[in-house]
C-alpha cells in the first residue's frame, strides 16, 4: 500500500493531491456534526433564501477588528427576499462554540462546534434554502449520505461482480454461459431507465432508512453486471497460469484456488475499477434524489438540495447558491476521475 502511494506520487502529483483532497472531503462529511455550524434541519424561519453571509473585518465606522464578525440581517423586501445588514451590533465569529448537543454516529456526544456566531445573527457560508436552513451545514451532512451510499453501493456490486465473474470465468461451460447471458440482459437497459423502473417497483413514500437501503440496492444491482464481465475476462486468463495448475495438482479445492490464488491477482485492476466506478454511484444517488425519488426531506443529500431548483426558474434566479451542491458533486467527481486514471497507469504492469 505504501509502495503504491509512493508510486502514485511519483507518477502524478495532481492525482496524489486528488487522493488527499477526497480524504479531506470524506473526513469533513464524517465529522459534519462538529464542523457544521448548524444541524441540518435547524431552521431560521425569518431568513429564507438568505444569500451567503458577508464576513467583515471593518465595522461601519471603519474600525478594524482582529476577530472577524458578521452583522445580523433583517428582511428588506419579503417578496423578493432581499436582506439588509443591521449595523447596530456586531456578532464576532467564535470558534469551538457551545450549542445544542449532537450525537456523532450514535456513540459520542458533542456540544461544541467548530465555529458559529451568537443568535439571532447567523453565519451562512453558502446561504440558506427555502426553509432558512444553512446550505453549508446541509452540504456537509448531505455528503455523509451521498458519499456513504456510493461507497456501500460500490462494495456490494463489487462483491457480487467478483463472485459471479469469478465463478463464471473459473468453471466455464454452462455456468459461464448462463451467468454471462444474465449479465448481458441487465446491460441491455440504459441505466437511468432501469433505475427508475426499479424504483417504480416500490411505493413512493418510504421511511428514510428504507429509501437509503433501496437506493444502495438499486445502484448496486445496476452496477455489478459490468464489473462481473470484466472480472470474468481476467479470471479466464489467470486460470491458464502455471501456478494455478500447481495449486490444482497440490489438491487445493476450487474455492481455495479462487479465493487465494485468483482473486488476489485481480487486485490491481479492482482498485482502479472501484475508483472509476464511484462517480457513477454518486451521480445515480444525486439523480434519484434530485427527481424526488431518493432521500427525502428533511434529510439532506447532494441531490435533493438541488431538487428545489428544478422546473422553478424563480427559485434558481433568487437563490443561485443552491447550485453549490452541483459544484460539490463536480469537484468530487473530477478528483475521482483524476485519481482513477493515475491509478490505472500506475497499476498497469506495462508501465512498471
Amino acid at each position: 500500500m505504501r509502495k503504491l502511494l509512493h508510486r502514485l506520487k511519483n507518477h502524478s502529483r495532481l492525482a496524489y493531491f486528488s487522493l488527499w483532497f477526497l480524504l479531506v472531503f470524506y473526513f469533513a462529511s464524517f465529522f459534519a456534526d462538529i464542523l457544521a455550524p448548524y444541524h441540518f434541519d435547524h431552521q431560521f424561519r425569518n431568513k429564507p433564501y438568505h444569500p451567503p453571509t458577508k464576513i467583515h473585518f471593518f465595522d461601519s465606522r471603519g474600525h478594524f477588528h482582529i476577530r472577524p464578525f458578521v452583522y445580523n440581517t433583517v428582511v428588506d423586501d419579503p417578496v423578493f427576499k432581499t436582506y439588509r445588514e443591521d449595523h447596530s451590533k456586531i456578532y464576532p465569529l467564535k470558534f469551538f462554540v457551545r450549542g445544542k448537543e449532537r450525537k456523532i454516529f450514535f456513540f459520542f456526544k458533542t456540544d461544541r462546534y467548530l465555529f458559529g456566531v451568537d443568535q439571532p445573527a447567523g453565519i451562512f457560508l453558502f446561504g440558506t434554502d427555502n426553509y432558512g436552513r444553512d446550505i453549508f451545514s446541509r452540504l456537509l451532512y448531505g455528503g455523509r449520505i451521498s458519499l456513504s451510499i456510493s461507497l456501500i453501493g460500490v462494495f456490494i456490486s463489487f462483491s457480487l461482480g467478483m463472485i459471479t465473474g469469478g465463478i463464471a470465468g473459473y468453471f466455464g461451460g454452462i455456468i459461464d454461459q448462463t451467468l454471462m447471458r444474465l449479465v448481458e440482459i441487465l446491460m441491455v437497459f440504459p441505466s437511468f431507465y432501469l433505475m427508475l423502473s426499479l424504483r417504480a417497483m416500490f411505493p413512493l413514500n418510504l421511511s428514510s432508512i428504507q429509501v437509503y437501503l433501496l437506493i444502495v440496492l438499486i445502484l448496486s444491482l445496476i452496477g455489478w453486471a459490468g464489473l462481473a464481465r470484466i472480472i470474468r475476462g481476467m479470471v479466464l486468463s489467470i486460470k491458464e497460469e502455471d501456478y494455478i495448475l500447481a495449486a490444482k495438482s497440490l489438491g487445493l479445492s476450487h474455492w481455495k484456488i479462487l479465493l487465494f490464488h485468483i482473486f488476489p491477482n485481480t487486485f490491481s485492476y479492482s482498485i482502479t475499477a472501484i475508483t472509476i466506478s464511484v462517480p457513477g454511484y454518486i451521480i445515480g444517488e444525486a439523480a434519484l434524489s434530485l427527481l424526488g425519488l431518493g432521500i427525502q426531506e428533511p434529510y439532506p443529500s447532494w441531490g435533493n438540495i438541488l431538487s428545489s431548483t428544478i422546473g422553478n426558474l424563480r427559485v434558481l434566479g433568487d437563490a443561485p447558491w443552491l447550485l453549490l451542491a452541483g459544484i460539490f458533486i463536480f469537484v468530487v467527481l473530477i478528483n475521482f476521475n483524476l485519481l482513477g486514471d493515475a491509478l490505472r497507469n500506475v497499476l498497469d504492469p506495462k508501465n512498471w
Binding site: I185, L186, S197, A287, L293, L323, I327, I334, F336
Partner: protein, 321 residues
C-alpha cells in the same frame, strides 16, 4: 456483409426475449394487486379495463400473462396509460421522436467538435495545447449532466437568449413549416448543447488515444518513408483507421446518451422519453414504465447493431472475417 447482418439480427432474438422477461418481472413484482387497483380507480373507464383484461389476460396465470404481453409487444401494443388514458404506443411515439432528435443533434455536435480537436491534440501530443484540451476533457467527463443543465437554465433565465421548455413557442395554425422547424431547432439548442458538453470529453479522449495508437503503427512509418505528404498521412492514413473503433463507440454511446438525455430533458423541460418515464414512475403508471423500459432497451440494442454494421462497412478486416 449480408451474412454478418443476418447473424447479428439472429443474435438479437434471445436478447430481446430476455429483456422483455426482465421488464415483465419488474412490473409484476410491483406491490399490490395491480388489476384490483385498476378497478378501484374511478378515472379508468370499465371499457378500458375490459379491453386490457382480454388482451393482456390480467386475471390469468402469470406465465400466460407474459406470453400474451409478449404477443402484444410484437404488435407494438403496450397497453393503455392510466394517467393519460391513451395507448402507451401513441405517447411513446411522440416522445421518442423528440428524444431521437435530441440524441442525434448532440451526437452530431459532439463528433464535429471532438474529432478535429482530437486529431490536432494527438498530432501535437505533449504540447501545451494538448494538455489544455486534456484538462478540458477531464472537466467535461466529470460534469454531471443535470448540473450543466441547471447552469444553462440559470444562465438563460437571466439573459432570455433562447427559449426553454417544450418544443415550440409558435402556435399559429398558419405557421409555415420552415418557421416551425426553426422554432423547434431553437428549443432543441439548449438541451442539445448540454448533452454535447457532457459527452464531448469522453469522445475526445477515446479519439485521441485511437489516433496516437494508429499514428505509431509501422504502416504510418512506411507512409512517411515513401514520402507521402503530411496531410495525406494524417487524414488518409491515420484518421481513416483511427475512426474505425469509434463506430463501435457510436453504438455504445447511444446508451450513455439516453441516460444523460433523460435528466437533461427533465430539467430543460424537453418532452422526451426521460421526462415521460419520470412522470410514469411518479404516477405509478406501470404499463407506461414498462413500455418505456422496453423501448429504451431496444434503442440501445439497435444502437449497438448500427455500430457493428458501420464498423463492418468501413473496416474490411472485420467484414471479411
Amino acid at each position: 456483409m449480408k451474412r454478418l447482418i443476418i447473424k447479428r439480427l439472429l443474435q438479437l432474438i434471445p436478447m430481446l426475449i430476455g429483456m422483455s422477461f426482465v421488464s415483465f418481472i419488474i412490473i409484476q413484482s410491483s406491490p399490490g394487486d395491480y388489476f384490483a387497483q385498476m378497478k378501484m380507480n374511478p378515472e379508468i373507464s370499465p371499457e378500458t379495463i375490459e379491453s386490457m383484461r382480454t388482451s393482456f389476460g390480467l386475471d390469468r396465470p402469470i406465465l400466460v400473462q407474459y406470453f400474451l404481453w409478449l404477443k402484444n409487444m410484437c404488435k407494438l401494443d403496450f397497453g393503455v396509460s392510466f394517467a393519460y388514458h391513451i395507448p402507451v404506443k401513441t405517447l411513446i411515439k411522440f416522445r421518442l421522436k423528440n428524444t431521437i432528435c435530441l440524441a442525434i443533434f448532440s451526437l452530431f455536435m459532439s463528433w464535429i467538435i471532438a474529432v478535429p480537436l482530437a486529431v490536432i491534440a494527438g498530432y501535437k501530443e505533449g504540447t501545451f495545447f494538448d494538455k489544455l484540451l486534456s484538462m478540458c476533457a477531464y472537466f467535461s467527463i466529470s460534469l454531471p449532466s443535470f448540473f450543466v443543465a441547471l447552469l444553462f437554465v440559470y444562465f438563460i433565465s437571466k439573459t432570455n437568449l433562447l427559449p426553454i421548455g417544450g418544443t415550440r413557442s409558435i402556435f399559429e395554425v398558419d405557421a409555415s413549416t420552415i418557421m416551425v422547424f426553426k422554432d423547434y431547432m431553437k428549443h432543441l439548442l439548449v438541451p442539445g448543447l448540454v448533452l454535447c458538453l457532457v459527452n464531448v470529453g469522453g469522445l475526445f479522449r477515446l479519439m485521441k488515444n485511437n489516433f496516437i495508437e494508429t499514428f505509431n503503427t509501422p504502416f504510418i512509418l512506411a507512409a512517411w518513408a515513401r514520402g507521402v505528404s503530411r496531410n495525406s498521412v494524417i487524414f488518409k492514413h491515420t484518421l481513416r483507421n483511427a475512426l474505425n473503433p469509434m463506430f463501435t463507440i457510436l453504438g455504445m454511446e447511444i446508451g450513455s446518451l439516453l441516460n444523460g438525455a433523460a435528466l437533461t430533458e427533465i430539467i430543460c423541460g424537453w418532452p422526451g422519453m426521460g421526462s415521460l418515464v419520470l412522470e410514469a414512475v411518479l404516477s405509478h403508471d406501470l404499463y407506461l414504465v414498462m413500455g418505456s423500459l422496453v423501448i429504451s432497451g431496444f434503442l440501445l440494442v439497435l444502437g449497438n447493431l448500427i455500430g457493428d454494421i458501420l464498423i463492418a462497412f468501413f473496416d474490411p478486416r472485420i467484414r471479411i472475417s
